[in-house]
Amino acid sequence: MKTELNYQSYKKPVIDTPPATPEAKPTPKITIDGVVIPFQAGDTIMQAAERANAAAEIPRFCYHPGLPIAGTCRMCTVEVEKMPKLMTSCSTPAADGMIVHTQSPKVRKSRTGVMEFLLANHPLDCPVCDKAGECELQDYNFEYGPSTSRFVEEKRVWDDATTKKLSDKVTLNMNRCVHCERCVRFTDEVTKTNDLVMKNRGYKKELSATDEERGLWNDYQGCLTDFCPVGALTFNDFRFHKRVWFLDKKKSICDQCSKGCNIEVHSDQNVVERLMPVFNESVNGHWMCDEGRVSYHTAMNPLRIVSPLLKSKGASKDAALVSTTWEFLFQQLNVVIKSSKKILFIIGTDASCEEAEQVKNWSSKLAGSSVVYFNGVNGVQTSKDDGKLDHLLRMKDKTSNTRGVEALGIQPINPNQVSDADLVIYLRAGRAQLPIEFSSSAPWLLWGVWNLEEVKSVQQKLNVVGLIPGLMTMEKDGSYVNESQLKQTVTTTIQTTGHCLTVNKVIEGLWIK
C-alpha cells in the first residue's frame, strides 16, 4: 500500500486499495433522493452521490474531488433525515442507512440564500468574463439563484486587483472571487508550493500571491484557472481569445512528455484554442502542467511547414527548400530512395506506435536499410534516462512514446550509423531533438512536424534534401505508451491545416509509386 500523497483524489486511497471482502461486512447503503446507493466506507455524501451518478448534481464551490475538503461555501448543503440542520454533503461522511434529500424545498431555499450572498458582491460582468459559459456560479445561479437582488449598497470593488497579473500565465480579477479557496488549497496540498494565500479577513479577504514580487511559481498554474468556479483566475494564453461556447471539445492525449496526460482539445473551426486536463485516475488525475497546456502552439505555429518541400537538383547544401507538390516530391524521392544502398531511418520517440511500426515494416522491405530511434531531449536517450521532475506529473523525457518505440524492438541511435548511411530519413512529431549533434554528409530527409526555424538550424549542419510534412498528435489516430507502460490511444481531434499526410500515405507514395 502506497503512502505517498495521491494527487488524483485527496480522499480516496491510492490505487491499490485492499479489495473489500464481501463476506467480512455487508456493503453500506445510503438513500439519496429515494435511490438506494451502495458506497465505500469513508465516502462523504457527495462522493457517494457522485460515484453512483444517481442524484442530480449537488452544487459546490469549495469542493473539488482532487483537493482537500474545506466545507466553507455552504452550497452543497443537503437535508439528512433525523439531523436538525442542513449538512454540507462534501464533508459529512456517509453512514449506512442515511436518508438524504438533495432537492427538498428547504435545501433549495438554503442554496438560494447562499447564492444571494455570493452575488451581493459579484460583479455583473459576465459579458466580459472569460469564464462565462462554463462558470459554476452562472450555472448554479441559473438553477438556484434568486432572480432579483435585494442588495442596494455599492458593490465591493478591488481597485488594485481588478486585473492583476499573478504571473505571466494567470490573471486575477478579485471582484469576481467567491472565496472558495480551491486555489489556495491546490498550491498548499497538490503542488506544495504555497504560492497563493488569502490575506486579510471577512469583507477584505483577498487572494494574493505569497510573494507578490515573485508571483506564482508553480508549474500547474493552468489548473487554478480550470477549477476556479468563477472568472477570478483566468489563463492568459486563452484569455479573451474565444468564448467557451464556440469550442468543440474532443478528448486526446498530451504529447509533451512521457506522462501522457489525458486532455481535452478545445478547438473552433480546426483552430485549437486551449487544452484542458481530463480526469484519469491512473495517469494524471485532474491536473496537467502548463508546458503541456500551451503545447498546442506547436501545431498552430504559423511557421510550421505544412506543404512538401524539396531542394532543387544540383543545388548547394545551403540552398533553400522549395515548396512543391506531393506528386513531384514522391517522384523525386522515389529515385533517391531507389538509388540509396544504405538508408537509415531515425524515428523520433514522439512518433506514435503505429507510425514507428509502419516505418519499421517499410525498412524491412528495403535491403540495406536500418531503423533506429532518437530522443535526445533533456539528454534523455532511452527510457532508462527518464525520471520525474517533480512529485506530480512532469517527466524528464519530453517525448511521448519512447517506451512504445522501444517495445517494437527498435534500437537507440548510434552516431556511427549516421555517418555510415547514404540517406537518412528522420521522422519526428515536433518534440524529439533536432539532429544537429550529428555530422553527416549524406542527404537528409526530414519528415513530420517541423517549423521553419528548426529546418533552418538543421540545414546549417546537414544536407537536407527534402521535407515531408506530417501530423501532430491531435491531428491523427495513434497510440502512445507512457512512462508506466500504459498504452493510450488517441483519435483525430482537429483536421490538419495545409497538405500534411499520414505516415502510411507517405510510405505508399514514396515506395509504390
Binding site: 459579458p127 466580459v128 470593488v157 471582484n175 479573451f240 461556447w245 464556440f246
Partner: protein, 172 residues
Amino acid sequence: MGKINTVNVSKKYTFKESLYLVAIIQGMMITLKRFFEGFVLHKKFTIMYPEERRDYSQRFRGEHFISIDNNKTENCTACFLCETVCPAECIHIVADEREDDQNLYGVKKEKKPLSFDIDALRCCFCGMCEEACPKDAIKLSRNYEMSVLKRDDAIYDLDHLKREVKGLKGRG
C-alpha cells in the same frame, strides 16, 4: 402500386367563358379605366424617392452603429454575444485587453474589441445583436441608405460603427 384516387376539380367553362373574348374585353376595360385615371387624374402610388421619403417606423432597423460613452470610447466589451446570436454570422470580433480606460466607477473595463467587423451584405437586419447586447453597445440606426461602391465598404469596421448617430427617438 396502389391505386391513386384523383379528383378533377377543374370546372367546365360555360359558352360565354369559353369564348374568352368577353373576359378579355372586361379586363381591357379595367385597364382602360386605370389608364385614364393615371393619364387624366394623375393617380399614382409611387413615392418620388429622393425628393419624397417614406416615413418609416421608429423601430425601423437600418445601418448598425456602436454607441460611445463620453470619452468617445465604444461601450462594446467584446462579449461575443452578438456574434453568438447572429443568425447570418456576419459579425466578427477580435477581443483584446483594454489597458487605458476607466469607467464611471473607477473600475477598469477589462476587455475591448480590437476589431469589430459587420458584413452588411450578409446581415439580415433582424436586430438580434441589439437584443443580445448587454451593454447596449451595438444598435441599428434608422438609416437605410447604405449603398456602397465597393464590397469592402460594406464591411463595417469599428471606426465606421463608432460614428455618432442622431435622431433615434424611441430607441436605446
